[in-house]
Every structure is written in C-alpha cells, then in structure tokens.
C-alpha cells in the first residue's frame, strides 16, 4: 500500500516540533553571545543564519507564527550585516523582544511528544482501572489526572498557512500606518505602492490575502481591474479586501464582480479589517472536538478511539465507569459515549449521575450498545440520553452521528461560557477555569501568572465617542489578546472594561514582559471615532502562584498591583511585590526529597584534565561519601567500562563547549542512564548555563560553595522521580 503523504508529513512535523525548542535555544544562545561580544559581526552572522533557517522551514511544519518572527529577526539584522548600519537602540530592543517572543512560541510540551508518545488509551484505562480495584481508591484519580493533563497539553499548534498579506496602497503614509496596525495582530504585511509587477509578487509570495486600494493615479477603478486580471490567471482565487475613498454603488459592484470578499470605505477601522482578514485567512483555528467513551470492553473502546481520531476527533476511552467524573473534569469532552451494560453500573445509571450535576446538563450523551429492544432504547432516551446507536456500527456512521451533535453542543456551550461582545470567557466561566488552572499548577508544580487588565479612562471613551465606539475598542483589545496569547492561556472579560489573563507555566518575569509588550501594542493601536483617530491605553497588575498559595490570594494581589498601576499614572504594568512566606519551588522540591526514603546512590565519573578542578571535586565528593572515578577526557570516557556504570557524569565545560557540543550528545548516548553535569569556574556561569540548553542536565560551579553539591543532588533526584 502506498503510504499516505499526509501521514508522512505529520511524522515529519512531529520530528521537527521535537527539535524546535533546541533550535530556538541555539538562537537565544547566539544572541546572548552577540550582546556579550558587543555586536561582533561574525556572531551576528551566526544569529542571522540560524533565524534565516528557521524562517525558511517553520511554516512548512505548522509553525507559521514562529517562522514569521524568525524572519523579522533575519530582516532586522540584514541592514547591519549587508550595509554596515549598526542597529540603533530601538532596533536592538525590537530584536531582543522578537528573540523573547520566539522562546514563548515554542510549544512547551513538545519534549513529551518527542520522547514519549501519548500513552495508548488502552494502557491508560487498563492501568488506572487495575489500580483502583487493587489499591486504596485515593491513589487512582490523581495519577489519572496527571497523565491526562500531560496528554492534553500536547495539541497546540495546528497546521496553518503563512499569513502573509500584500497591501497595495499608493498613499505611502496611510499605507505605513495601516501596515503597522495589522502587524500588531501578527500579520506579515508586504507593502506595495503601485500596481506594476503585482502579479509576479503575488505568484512569488502566495499571500493569504490581498488588501487593495481602488483608486490609483492610473484610474478610478484601476485597483479592481488589476485584481480582476490577477484572478483570471489563478486556479484558486486569492481572498481580496478592498479599501477605498469611494463608497458609491458602481465601485462596490465592480468590486463584487472582480471577486472581492470584503469592502471597506476609508478611514478603515483596523478592528473590522482584522475580523475580515481572520475570517478570510482561516486564522480562527478549529479546535478538535473531544469525545469520551465509557465501555467495559477495552477493545471496542480503543477501536472507537482510532476511528474517531482518524476523523480528526480527539477521543479517549475508559473502561471503569467510576472514573467518568474525573475524566469529564480533566478531559472536558464535548460529547460522551456510554455503553449500556457495564459490570459496575449501567449506562442509564451513569447518565443519571452525570445529569445530576448542573455543569453537565448540556453535555450530549449517546448510548452505544448491542441493545435492539425498542423499549429499552426508549427508556434510555427518557433518562437524558440524546441518541441511541446500535452495535455493531460502521466508522462512517459513528463519526457522522457523533460529530454533528458535538459541534452543536460546543456551539451552544459557547453562549453559556462566552461574553457576547468580545467572544472571550465570561466572568463565571473565567473564574471556574481559573480554579482549574490553579489546581493544575499546584499538581504539576508549575508557576501560574495572572494579570488583571483594566482599560484606562474607558468611561471617557464612552462619553466622548459613544458606546458603539467603546464596544469596538473592547473588541479590538479582545482580539489583540487572542492573537498574542497561547491557546493554553486563559483569557476572560471579567466585567466592564476589566479583563483577566491567566498564563500557565509562566513566571512573573515572563508574564511582565509579555503583558508589557501587549501594553505597548495596544497603546499604538489607533481607533477611529467621529472626530478622528484616538489611542487608548491599559493598566495591568500581575501576581502568581507559588508566591501566593491560594486563588483568592493571587487575585487580591493582582488587583492590588493593578490599583498601584492606576495610581502611578496608568498605562503601565506592575508586578505584585508582596509575597506569602511560601517557599519558592526549588526549596519546596528539595524539602520533599529530604523526606523521601529512597535516596539515589550516586556513582560519579569526573571528566576533567584540570588538576585543580579535579582536586576540588574529589574533596567535596569524598566528604559526601560518594563513589567516584576520574578520567582525563571525553574520548576516554566513551570507552569507559565498569561493572557498576556511573549515573552522574561531571564534565569540564571546556570539553563540551562550542565546537565540542557534539560530545555532549555522545556522552548522553554512551551513558544512557546517567545525569550529565557541567563543571565550570564560578566566573563562567552564563556559559555553563548555556550548556544546559545544549543538553546538559545541570551545572556545578567550582570552587563549590557550601551546600551546592547537596542542592545539585537534590535537584537531580527530584527530576529523576518526575521522569
């Protein structure tokens, strides 16, 4: 059978995604090197080459946004490297910001996908159900939940075509203003000021859409004529949005006839234009439907999962009905498939249990069973099931019956959870989701940052321009948030002009950088009112877990920080400085380690030819009573044989740095079960930290300060357990 290219592409995409973090880390490290070297040209070339490569390939693997940021870095360095203009401070700052942005755009759970593909559902349900029957019941739900969380966080980037837009506008000043606005929304804008050469450019760039002015010096409708000619050449028409001073019927008719998709009279409202662009370029990504199957027959469940997954539906099967509620909460399906007859409780009983909870009243439940008795089927339906499907069922029928219902359920759910003006989560939904994120952060021991954002002087906007314009401002802001934040981030309209953003696995510092970049983007955004353009700003307060250990505590702290920001003059982001006396993460894990009984027995191998380094390490290691051996260099280490292989490699930074980075990989391959730690002089800490991005597990600075060795061992032991 001929392999399906789609599947092959998917496999390639996965491989690429797995390496993405590494590539971005390489750019970051080259960038840091560039700044340290005070902008040495050879280092600049390296940064540019890395960015250029990323720009060329990322979009093909479904990371279009990341690719376009990489391209901006590439272009940002071009002027310097090709024409010798040393970048000014603004350009440097922008580059630094783009580099930060790249880090953020790397899907964070890709390492999971690369190393361990999501557990087979069969394994998942089999292990969890056996645990819950054999062991005390408390153990089961948490493990299930954690496993599910990890799987859940994988799908983030979907395959998107590059969102490059060609803007054709002969008024240069206006064109630049508009392009600037659109770029704030992550569109890559190519600006063209005349019609000449447009067809070649379109062919070469293959834009997601064209924004076209209508009136040009060559004629009052020449923009439309150019498009009409362009579309005749193509098999698939390019989406076109017209912008024009003309608002008469003839112009609009000509626009429609040329295959235009939208028409805006100038001055164009950027928010509306973005809406149209999003629609035309398919920028509103579909999120796959989720279906949970409860069936005591694991084979049947797994077969359903496979069939649904083929149809692009995200499905999970469990065999123990008692786990249903946990899975509903964590997996959050759009639809539930229940087996009629199961050993512990029947599908009908299970349906009643689920329906007793308010939040699941709207959840479609479909029964699936070999039941042919009409009365039985009727009874099931009367208990709140939405449909009854008879086994055996063909894949096509299954998918057809499920997807229409799930789509409708999600659509209805939207009305319950979403704010009608902005489409963001509403107050109640955002509070609920936040509780979930909070629990998750605690469970996974990850930071969670929360920002409360309030539009400055919003009442004035409403008073001076009217509510319609005010609403438009809120919508633009909501759109900006959606565009710039990750899909896993939580965005809600908390009420009025107040918004809430929750950023999982994001430190306060990262959150500040991000929200502040949103702040400057929003401040730069122009809104159109009856008396011309105006700008609006916002203030934000940020606080987070684990600095505050409760959801209420975080919210109060963020609120207080917001208040401070307002008092300090608005248009600023303030991070909560007050912290609970809760210990930070590293200490918390270290404490846990001390209390656990199973302490790892470390057998170290020191790879160093530096006599002083060796002596210092030997001293510390024997003081701790650790076993160790020494060897001069990596080459010899790669031939090292011992009946008890080392599980801790301490390697001199000089041997694995720079051009020797590959040796790190070789060490990793040879000592499969060992942790690799870089040894470096205390003065070279930044360089030592860089080796971690290239694959070392940690680093150790010599001479050793008191307690650092123990802290390192604790860290390693803690990560060992979580692996």
């Amino acid at each position: 059978m001929k392999p399906d290219p789609n599947e092959q592409f998917a496999a390639l995409r996965q491989r690429y995604a797995a390496q993405l973090a590494e590539r971005v880390a390489a750019i970051l490290s080259a960038w840091q090197h560039l700044e340290q070297s005070r902008w040495e040209k050879s280092v600049g070339l390296e940064v540019r080459q890395l960015a250029h490569k990323l720009a060329g390939s990322a979009a093909m693997f479904g990371f279009a946004d990341l690719g376009s940021v990489a391209r901006e870095i590439d272009l940002g360095l071009q002027a310097w490297l090709e024409h010798d203009h040393l970048p000014d401070i603004v350009t440097r700052q922008r580059l630094a910001h783009q580099i930060t942005l790249l880090q953020r755009m790397v899907p964070q759970d890709q390492s999971h996908t690369a190393e361990a593909p999501p557990a087979e559902p069969s394994q998942l349900s089999a292990t969890t159900s056996s645990v819950s029957t054999a062991a005390p019941a408390e153990a089961a739900p948490t493990t299930t939940a954690v496993m599910l969380e990890q799987e859940l966080s994988i799908p983030r980037e979907t395959n998107k075509l590059p969102r490059t837009i060609i803007l054709v506008e002969d008024d240069r000043e206006y064109a630049h203003t508009l392009a600037e606005q659109l770029r704030l929304f992550n569109y890559d804008i190519h600006l063209v000021t005349d019609l000449e050469g447009l067809p070649t450019l379109v062919r070469a760039i293959n834009p997601a859409a064209i924004i076209m002015d209508i009136v040009f010096p060559s004629g009052d409708l020449s923009g439309i004529e150019a498009i009409a000619a362009l579309q005749r050449e193509r098999t698939a028409p390019v989406p076109v949005i017209y912008i024009s001073q003309r608002d008469d019927f003839n112009a609009r008719l000509a626009a429609v006839r040329s295959g235009g998709h939208a028409y805006f009279a100038k001055p164009v409202d950027a928010g509306q234009l973005i809406n149209a662009l999003d629609r035309l370029t398919g920028n509103e990504e579909p999120i796959p439907l989720r279906v949970l199957i409860v069936d005591d027959d694991p084979d049947f469940g797994n077969r359903c999962v496979r069939e649904l997954e083929v149809a692009g539906i995200h499905a999970r099967a469990i065999t123990d009905p008692r786990e249903t509620l946990d899975h509903l909460q964590v997996f959050r399906p759009d639809l539930l498939i229940l087996d009629m007859y199961m050993p512990i409780c029947s599908g009908k009983e299970l349906a009643s249990i689920i329906r007793q909870q308010d939040r699941y009243v709207g959840m479609p439940i479909v029964f699936l069973s070999a039941e042919t008795n009409r009365t039985q089927q009727q009874a099931a339906l009367s208990l709140g099931a939405d449909d009854f499907l008879a086994k055996p069922i063909t894949p096509t029928d299954l998918v057809a019956a499920i997807s229409a219902r799930a789509v409708r359920a999600r659509y209805l759910q939207r009305f319950l959870l979403r704010d009608s003006l902005t489409g963001l989560l509403n107050h109640q939904a955002v509070e609920e989701e936040l509780a979930r994120e909070f629990a998750r952060a605690e469970r996974l021991q990850q930071p969670l940052s929360i920002a409360i954002i309030d539009i400055d002087h919003f009442k004035r906007v409403n008073d001076s321009y009217g509510h319609l314009i005010g609403d438009q401002v809120l919508r633009s802001f909501a759109r900006l948030l959606q565009q710039r934040l990750r899909q896993s981030d939580l965005i809600g309209r908390h009420g009025g002009e107040e918004f809430l953003v929750a950023l999982p696995n994001t430190s306060l510092t990262e959150a500040r950088t991000l929200i502040d970049s949103l702040r400057s983007s929003f401040a730069a955004l122009r809104h159109y009112g009856p008396n011309g353009m105006f700008n609006v700003t916002f203030s934000a307060g940020i606080a987070g877990y684990p600095h505050h250990r409760s959801q209420v505590g975080v919210m109060q702290a963020a609120d207080a920080a917001l208040y401070q920001a307002k008092r300090a003059g608005r248009n600023r982001v303030i991070v909560d400085a007050h912290r609970d006396d809760a210990p930070p993460f590293v200490l918390a894990t270290a404490k846990d380690t001390a209390t656990t009984k199973t302490e790892t027995v470390w057998r170290a191998l020191i790879i160093s030819s530096n006599g002083i380094q060796r002596r210092l390490l030997r001293q510390s290691l024997s003081e701790r009573g650790l076993m160790y051996d020494m060897i001069n260099d990596v080459e010899h280490a790669l031939k090292y044989k011992s009946p008890t292989p080392p599980n801790l490699i301490l390697v001199d930074m000089n041997q694995i740095e720079g051009t020797h980075t590959a040796k790190l990989v070789q060490l990793r391959e040879y000592f499969t079960n060992a942790r690799i730690v870089t040894i470096a002089p205390a003065t070279a800490e930044p360089r030592a930290a860089t080796t971690v991005t290239f694959g070392a597990d940690d680093y150790l600075l010599v001479p050793l300060a008191a307690g650092t060795l123990q802290a390192l061992l604790n860290r390693l032991a803690a990560s060992e357990r979580s692996n």
């Binding site: 490569k53 990322a58 093909m60 693997f61 391209r71 070649t200 070469a204 293959n206």
Partner: protein
C-alpha cells in the same frame, strides 16, 4: 513537448529537503535528486539531466545566483528552467533573479501540498514562452 519528470532540488537545510522530497515525490510523483550545495549540484546536474531545477538562493559556500551562472556554462543545461527559492521576497530581488534567467521565484516557506502544482505551472509557462 516532453513532460516534467525529473527535478533537481538544491537546498542546504535538511528539513526543507525532507519536506520537499515528500512534496515532490509522494504528492507530485516526480523523480527528485537532492543536493545540499551548489557545488554538489554542479557535480551531478549533467548526469541527472533534470527537466527543472529548484535552487535555494541563500546557501553557505556557493549561493543560488552563482550556482545558476555556473550551471548555465554546461552545454546540456543552458535551457533547463531554474526556479529560485527564497525566504526574503522583495520586488527588486525578484526582478533581479528573473533578469538573470530564472524561470520564476518561489517563496519559502512553501506549502508542501501545493508545491508540485506550483512547479508544474512554472514548467508549463517556461515552455510556452520558449516555443
């Protein structure tokens, strides 16, 4: 008019090579010869006798334009359509590439599902203009 069968693909990035190979072979059904540098392309081009050459502009060592000039010196390759691939499409660059004899310019990143169709279009156009 013969048909488009053999494509020489010159690109230093192994990721793009992989996708392109898949896109041109599995989707388009063409025979593809991969080269990682201009030098390598010069070494194999005559023997492979491609119907069309896809050439990355920015490569370490010999860049795309230089490679094109060198390829054209080989008697059997003076007429072979050469298409540039580049991530930085600016109009003056496109014009420059077309002026030096490129059949067309394709932007990187390209869409793997439509690359074959795009290449086929370019090939047909190149032959129309010649005849």
């Amino acid at each position: 008019m013969t048909s488009l069968q053999k494509i020489l693909f010159v690109e230093d990035d192994p990721d793009i090579q992989m996708v392109a190979q898949l896109a041109l072979e599995a989707v388009g059904g063409y025979t593809v010869q991969m080269c990682s540098s201009g030098k390598e392309a010069l070494a194999v081009a005559e023997q492979f006798a491609p119907d069309l050459i896809l050439l990355d502009v920015m490569m370490p060592g010999m860049d795309g334009p230089t490679t094109l000039i060198e390829l054209r010196k080989k008697p059997s390759l003076t007429q072979t359509p050469v298409v540039f691939m580049t991530a930085r499409v600016q109009r003056h660059e496109i014009e420059q590439y077309l002026a030096m004899g490129a059949a067309d310019v394709i932007s990187k990143p390209f869409d793997p599902m439509t690359l074959s169709a795009q290449v086929a279009d370019i090939w047909v156009k190149a032959h129309e203009t010649r005849s």
